[in-house]
Symmetry: C2
């Protein structure tokens, strides 16, 4: 992109702040361990109003980061992961709202994670990083909100694991949350989700280059992380999406090669996804974040889904996608039904899309008006 | 089991013959290559009648073998893979039919495959084994039928990849097939199936111990094969099956361990499946057999599914399972619809089962009467 385009795109989301904050005081974790110091990388878009009541916290998924919208430089090839939804006139309207997005604790995009230096040794934590939970991720975000002087969020919003965090915010810190937006998510990780995550972890930990997590001075466990990502990618899509995107097409050939090598287009796609993930993600972060996902179990924590949902303060918008088999519609419906039984205002919309779990990051047309209307009604208090 | 029980079980399937046949003359493969000598390991149950017209060929799935029924010795812990369906008074009634089952070409249970000695070098083929197809597997079986003096099969029957072979028999060699029984199968491998198979192959080929397939004098690529099997196992089950079998139960613990290691019951299950598969299966066979599956494409070969189904000679029974998402009901329905359009007698039954793709190997109650009735009607020619 040219510099002029960049300026326009950069300004598109209003005033972009790209920062990080570090707390020296250790963070008490759900496991009982203490982690310190803790840094959170975050970005903000738009401006906090005088009443400090227009902040919306966006929560990213497994492989996401704090860069939700706009561009960091004129050479960036891609905008932030939710750029289609964040900006002036977009559903998360930066002319009205102060949007915050932070990289999760355990991540590898600026926040403290297993690749960060262990203050006791000066070397990366690796597998000595403590196992964290979704609750721990949110506890770190609570510090961020405190530091920003935001007592109460206008709303929290997230898809997939971002939805876990949004639910955690709304149930563990209900007094600090206005509305809750949940996309393609669930109140607990199902055994099938655990199975896929576990296979990904096994692929990494069985890679000889994993070296018990202590690989930062050596070659990275790229085979393991690539395999984990390939498994993930198939679960993010759907049979119709794969049929539509690739079918049985061969990559750059008309006839089968009768070789053991990759030759179908879908295989090239997975290979590419594995490689590009290695270029930007840390294998140990993949282990810790998927483990946090596996522990996610709101009904388990509060005794039942209804008991958990009884803690939710404000109105909720729940969006699911009919071809999402990783976080199927039934999981969203269960949350919506429990909220309804608890007398909480909730709207659940199941969007028809062939894009599978990925739909929340690609099929924006149907989501835009839903989110826009929800935030508007939340503002006027008509929910 | 005790010796007496064994005798009873062994006699249960009538006269069990466990043999192998070797052809010195090379087999012409679909790729244009020639493979020789070729050995097929096979078992038979029951007796061929004087008219030689009571033979049923059973075709096994990816990880199956020739041992379809009964026991080989008194110390066997498990009977053959389809023991519930093969024996006197069972659907494949050994008092009426002569049942044949052979290990596929490319396999590692007695038939020629990549672990077999290359006659030119005396060392295992490894990755020098030629890439084979479902058609090649069936061509080898044609030789077996010729050797047994069986001109025409009363029926062919198989589930999953066994169904691919049954369809291949009925369309490539229609004059030799009476009825066709298809279970949990498809007329082509979908891009999603290719994706899972490809990830399994990548797991093996990225294992440093794979050594380009030349590992027989070294440690085996057990990590790669275990990962491939784990991926497979999740695709063979279903969300309800995993929920019912494991839920979010921890293995041998009440509280989370906050460790990166496996701790959920579903993780222990997958680990066990990976290990036990390594004890009995060859990683190179996994590569070649899944590759043959990926090439499977009847509509591609004949121009359309209808054109392929127009080649089918006799009546067909098609069984699918509503929770099977690997070979979903829609694939079976497509075959049944094409057969109907071509005026071929076909019955398609979609069985309600939570067991996913595995259902054809575990949920026998609903299958038994369907198969029994189909074979009876095939016999009296009322179809």
């Amino acid at each position: 992109m040219t510099a002029v385009q960049f300026e326009r795109a950069y300004e598109g989301v209003g005033i972009v702040q790209r920062q990080s904050l570090t707390w020296i005081e250790p963070l008490a974790l759900e496991s009982g361990e203490r982690l310190g110091a803790v840094t959170l990388a975050y970005e903000t878009y738009g401006q906090l109003n005088a009443a400090r009541d227009n902040a919306i916290l966006l929560l990213h998924a497994l492989s996401g980061d704090a860069h939700a919208a706009g561009y960091h430089s004129a050479t960036d090839r891609k905008a932030g992961w939710w750029d289609a939804m964040v900006g002036p006139g977009k559903p998360f309207d930066t002319e009205k709202y102060f949007i915050i997005c932070s990289n999760v604790l355990g991540g590898c995009m600026g926040s403290t994670g297993p690749a960060s230096p262990n203050p006791w040794t000066g070397r990366p934590y690796g597998a000595n990083f403590p196992v964290i939970t979704i609750g721990d991720m949110v506890r770190a975000q609570v510090r961020l909100l405190d530091a920003l002087g935001i007592e109460r969020l206008f709303a929290v919003a997230g898809g997939s694991m971002g939805g876990f965090q949004a639910l955690e915010w709304a149930t563990a810190h209900p007094e600090r949350v206005g509305g809750t937006l949940l996309l393609a998510t669930a109140a607990r990780s199902s055994p099938q989700t655990i199975a896929w995550n576990s296979i990904g972890r096994q692929a990494i930990m069985r890679d000889p280059r994993w070296r018990d997590g202590d690989y930062y001075d050596h070659e990275r466990p790229t085979n393991g992380l690539a395999l984990a990502r390939m498994v993930g990618h198939v679960t993010y899509l759907s049979e119709p999406a794969l049929e539509q995107k690739f079918g049985r097409r061969l990559q750059g050939a008309n006839e089968p090669a009768f070789s053991l090598e990759r030759e179908f287009a879908v295989e090239s796609y997975l290979d590419y996804q594995g490689d590009s993930f290695n270029a930007r993600f840390d294998a140990n972060s993949y282990l810790y974040i998927t483990k946090a996902m596996d522990y996610w179990d709101l009904p388990g924590r509060y005794g039942s889904l209804d008991a958990a949902m009884a803690r939710m303060p404000g109105p909720s918008l729940i969006i699911s996608f009919d071809s999402d088999w990783l976080y199927p519609t039934s999981e969203s419906r269960a949350i919506a039904d429990a909220l309804t039984r608890q007398g909480r205002p909730v709207e659940h919309v199941d969007i028809t899309s062939p894009a599978g779990h990925d739909a929340f990051l690609v099929d924006f047309a149907a989501q835009r008006p839903l989110i826009q209307d929800f935030l508007r009604e939340l503002e006027v208090g008509s929910l």
